[in-house]
């Protein structure tokens, strides 16, 4: 016979205002199996919890119903308290009489009646509860980091420095990401490469980091603690071990006019190339589409020049499997393009800015290369069309960002800061030049950030105009920029030599496809979703998968690095245990009844059900059956709903329990 205790919380006024808790306590006291029913001002407080513990012992309770807030808030609290008093924690149920009742109803009478019914349902459920044990699963204490930009580098180094192994996968031939191409960084104007390259070298030399560049994650199987990841290493046509990075090959390569990805198509590179001098690994890669050997079947000069015999024209893609326990996604961002052709039908280009057909309208990352000492102009500010030094430069904020008509409603957060930086860098190099900025708002929250923007305006003399630009045309080598200064209330046309667009930050290409492989959610713009915006900012809803950097949302370098360290910290918390403990509320298949139709296998969104065989002691096949992998099951119940033989059931939410709840109402 069950002995159930009911604990009703006032939640201060939150519940008590609209629910007569004392009346409710009295009404549910007589339900079958209930031996005590009390109300208390704050059940989650220490005295509230100890009241519950006392009653569990004194009344020899076999089940507990706490009627209070959402189980999302305090189920763990009350289960822990019950366990301390010696009751199996899975014999504790909650009735949500706050979010589902007192907060949404005004009539105290009716709200109280509803609260009683909610409690009655929970009592019916807990009567049928079974004691459950948490599931322990083994864990591979090795991490995968996807993306080798500054966030991925930071996460990988943090995890590796703690003694755990890291597999770092980068799509490009070198790690470094977007930051490696930046000139100087706000708000200190320290050289981006100078602060990043030591970290890149650390990654390349770290004994605990296995680095795969020019590689992509192709598939992910398994579950938290036990992922199996397949990585495709794209054919590099260079033997990484043999190559010394001496540079003979790329110096000799006759195919020299290939647009450099690293310089955002503003400079050239050879067919065999390292993207930039400080690349890690400092090993070249051959671009098949540019290499004369592959295009015309002749050449091979690089192979002849290579003293180490490292050029391998017969190199093939290689698929590698790695086992890891946790995954950090740090795939970063790309910039919105104003071109007519867009990646998604929701986005539209800027015909009014010429759809990118004017060579002297560049985006912010291109301008970084123009300013950068390692860039195509060697750090001299010269414009792409004719190499002239621009005497008048217009910077336009919010291109794509906050522009619903073009498909992006969000603020890209970093543009105000780097635009201010751009005007400074420009002025520092072109003393007689004039920088103009068209902006809507200046968003410079952050330590020393607003001071930095003010410096650009007050000391470096950038002309800031509040207003959007409506049109850019080209006349006689000048860009005619038609804008407005809404502060004086006048239209404003500026003849510029160069226009720099602060284009919106978008998730890097392929991020959503990767998210699908990882079962990680993403928003309408393709940014990966964190589990909770405040309390679980680097976790995702896929257990064991963490996010950091701009793949989760627009952010600057300091934030990306902080988030990367946070993600690494979360991984290490996971790795601090030998085993992982999971909630036992997962599906279970009654293997005796299972008709092996495997409808559940196909229906399961987590691939948590496998086809299994039941064999006798002699190894003879008795029958086939579906079987749940408790490490993967998320307890969604899809299999329960779909099973034609009613062989699937959900621990903690059995059909018996659910029917008991329904019956208690009717």
């Amino acid at each position: 016979m069950s002995r159930i205790g009911i604990f009703i919380c006032w939640c201060g006024e939150n519940i008590a205002r609209n629910v007569d808790v004392e009346r409710a306590a009295a009404e549910v006291a007589d339900l079958p199996g209930v031996v005590c029913s009390v109300a208390y001002k704050y059940m989650c407080s220490d005295p509230g919890q100890s009241l519950m513990r006392q009653k569990i012992v004194s009344e020899r309770l076999t089940g507990v119903v706490v009627a209070s807030c959402s189980p999302h808030m305090h189920l763990r609290t009350f289960r822990k308290a019950a366990a301390m008093a010696g009751l199996n924690p899975y014999l504790v149920e909650m009735a949500n009489i706050r979010e589902h009742c007192s907060w949404v109803h005004h009539d105290r009478q009716q709200a109280t009646t509803k609260a009683v019914e909610l409690i009655r349902m929970s009592v019916a459920k807990v009567r049928a509860n079974a004691a459950l044990q948490p599931i322990s699963i083994p864990i591979t204490r090795r991490a995968l980091v996807i993306g080798g930009g500054v966030a991925g580098i930071q996460a990988a180094l943090d995890i590796a420095d703690s003694g755990r192994e890291v597999v770092l996968v980068e799509r490009e031939p070198s790690i470094g990401g977007k930051m490696a191409g930046l000139s100087e960084t706000f708000p200190t104007l320290d050289c981006s490469q100078c602060i990043l390259t030591p970290r890149m070298v650390d990654v390349g030399q770290h004994p605990n980091i296995r680095l795969y560049t020019y590689s992509e994650v192709e598939g992910v199987e398994g579950y938290v603690g036990n992922f199996k990841v397949t990585v495709r290493k794209k054919a590099r046509y260079v033997d990484m071990d043999a190559c010394t990075g001496c540079g003979q090959c790329w110096n000799a390569c006759p195919s020299k006019k290939n647009l450099s990805e690293f310089d955002y198509q503003m400079g050239n590179r050879t067919a065999i190339y390292v993207p930039f001098p400080q690349a890690v690994p400092a090993r070249p890669v051959i671009d098949r589409d540019a290499c004369l050997h592959f295009l015309k079947g002749k050449c091979g000069i690089c192979a002849k020049k290579c003293a180490a015999n490292a050029v391998k024209f017969d190199d093939q893609d290689e698929v590698i499997t790695e086992e890891v326990g946790a995954i950090v996604v740090a795939t970063g961002f790309k910039l919105y393009s104003i071109d007519r052709d867009q990646a998604s039908s929701k986005l539209a280009g800027y015909g009014e800015y010429g759809y990118g057909q004017y060579p002297d309208v560049v985006d912010a990352l291109q301008f970084e290369r123009i300013v950068s000492a390692s860039g195509p102009t060697g750090g001299e500010i010269r414009r792409p069309s004719d190499g002239q030094q621009p005497k008048s430069v217009v910077f336009i904020s919010c291109v794509g960002s906050r522009d619903n008509a073009k498909g992006i409603s969000y603020c890209s957060k970093i543009c105000c800061m780097y635009t201010a930086k751009h005007t400074m860098l420009y002025k520092h190099k072109v003393h007689d030049g004039q920088a103009h900025v068209f902006y809507m708002d200046i968003r410079s929250g952050g330590k020393n950030y607003d001071e930095f923007v003010r410096r650009a305006i007050e000391q470096d003399g950038a002309h800031y105009h509040r207003g959007r630009v409506s049109k850019i045309t080209q006349e006689n080598g000048k860009l005619i920029v038609r804008g407005v200064d809404t502060l004086v209330g006048e239209p404003l046309t500026i003849e510029a030599d160069l226009v720099v667009l602060a284009s919106a930050m978008q998730p890097a290409g392929g991020a959503t496809e990767l998210a699908q492989k990882l079962n990680v959610g993403y928003d309408e713009f393709g940014f990966l979703s964190e589990s909770h915006p405040k309390l679980r900012p680097v976790e995702t809803n896929a257990a064991g998968v963490f996010v950091c950097g701009a793949c989760q949302g627009p952010k600057d370098i300091p934030e990306s690095v902080a988030q990367a360290s946070a993600a690494a910290g979360k991984v290490l918390v996971m790795f601090s245990n030998e085993q992982l403990s999971r909630e036992p509320e997962v599906a279970r298949i009654n293997e005796t009844n299972c008709a092996a139709c495997f409808a559940c296998v196909r229906a399961c969104p987590y691939n948590a059900i496998e086809r299994a065989e039941v064999r006798d002691r002699k190894g003879q096949l008795v029958k086939r059956t579906a079987r749940v992998n408790p490490g993967l099951c998320m307890g969604c119940g899809t299999c329960v709903a779909i099973c034609p033989s009613k062989s699937a059931d959900l621990e903690g939410f059995t059909e018996q329990q659910v029917y008991a709840m329904v019956e208690s109402l009717v």
Partner: protein, 280 residues
């Protein structure tokens, strides 16, 4: 091919050269224009400036006539008319209440089903290949600045035609006939449109900018598909020259003029002899 035809007031008035041109050109291409019975004015800028409901009702009456006569498609060569017709069509299709109300006002049931096409769309419908097949001469001496003005492409959601910032449909047709359209920057800037009478200096100023930009980019003529653009750029060109002390000397053709010339039609039947600026 029989096409419902809404000429609008201008093509029956001082822009009858455009009317002749459209008819001659399309007839030569095998399209027969069937004018709507007793059509009324679309209301133009005056209606949408002074009376929102009137601006819906006047074009709706014409849509109702087109529906009654069973035209699925209606050619309105004047972009002001076609835009007003389309605006009404959008509003009617969006609201059954409005359909009811407007039907009552215009004393004829109107659904807003008729598709409204501009001159370029009709030519596209006939097809580049069909036009090229019938062409008897090349237009290679023409280096036109194709001028779309405001209402051919705007409001973009309503007219849903071409690219509202960088349109190219006229260029496509003219290139196919051998002309060499220039790239220039004022394709979609406004010429002042219906303000010719009400605010003369404004239209002179705007039109002067357009003509100047066309000349600066190497055009030897202009091509339009709008009677108001033609008035401001052609009829008013002498005034512009006087006001700004310059000499643009830029012939302004309707799109149907140049297509018609390629088809071998003579200037008179196309109404080109009725233009003000005559060159060549």
């Amino acid at each position: 091919m029989d096409i419902g035809y809404y000429p609008g007031c201008a093509l029956h008035g001082s822009s009858n050269d455009y009317g002749s041109s459209v008819r001659a050109c399309l007839n030569a291409l095998g399209a027969r224009l069937c004018e709507l019975d007793d059509w009324i004015c679309c209301g133009a800028t005056a209606a949408h400036s002074l009376n929102h409901m009137l601006a819906l009702a006047l074009p709706s009456r014409n849509l109702a006539i087109a529906e009654r006569q069973g035209y699925e498609e209606l050619l309105a060569p004047c972009p002001m008319c076609s835009m007003e017709l389309l605006k009404a069509r959008c509003a009617l299709t969006a609201s059954s209440d409005l359909r009811e109300k407007v039907s009552e006002i215009v004393e004829l049931e109107v659904q807003g089903k008729t598709r409204v096409l501009n001159l370029i769309q009709i030519l596209q419908k006939i097809g580049l290949d069909a036009i090229k097949q019938r062409a008897v001469r090349t237009l290679k001496e023409f280096r036109p600045a194709c001028y779309y003005g405001c209402l051919l492409t705007r409001p973009a959601d309503t007219v849903q035609f071409d690219d509202c910032e960088q349109p190219s449909s006229m260029e496509t047709i003219l290139c196919a006939l051998g002309a060499e359209p220039v790239q220039w920057n004022y394709k979609t800037e406004c010429c002042g449109a219906g303000m010719t009478m009400a605010d003369g200096p404004t239209t002179l100023e705007l039109s002067h900018k357009i003509l100047s930009n066309a000349v600066a980019h190497g055009a030897n003529c202009m091509v339009v598909a709008c009677p108001m653009c033609h008035v401001n750029l052609d009829m008013k060109q002498a005034d512009i020259d006087r006001e700004y002390d310059c000499r643009h000397d830029l012939a302004v053709y309707y799109l149907s003029d140049l297509v018609g010339l390629a088809l071998g039609l003579d200037e008179k039947s196309l109404g080109i002899d009725r233009h003000f600026v005559v060159k060549r």
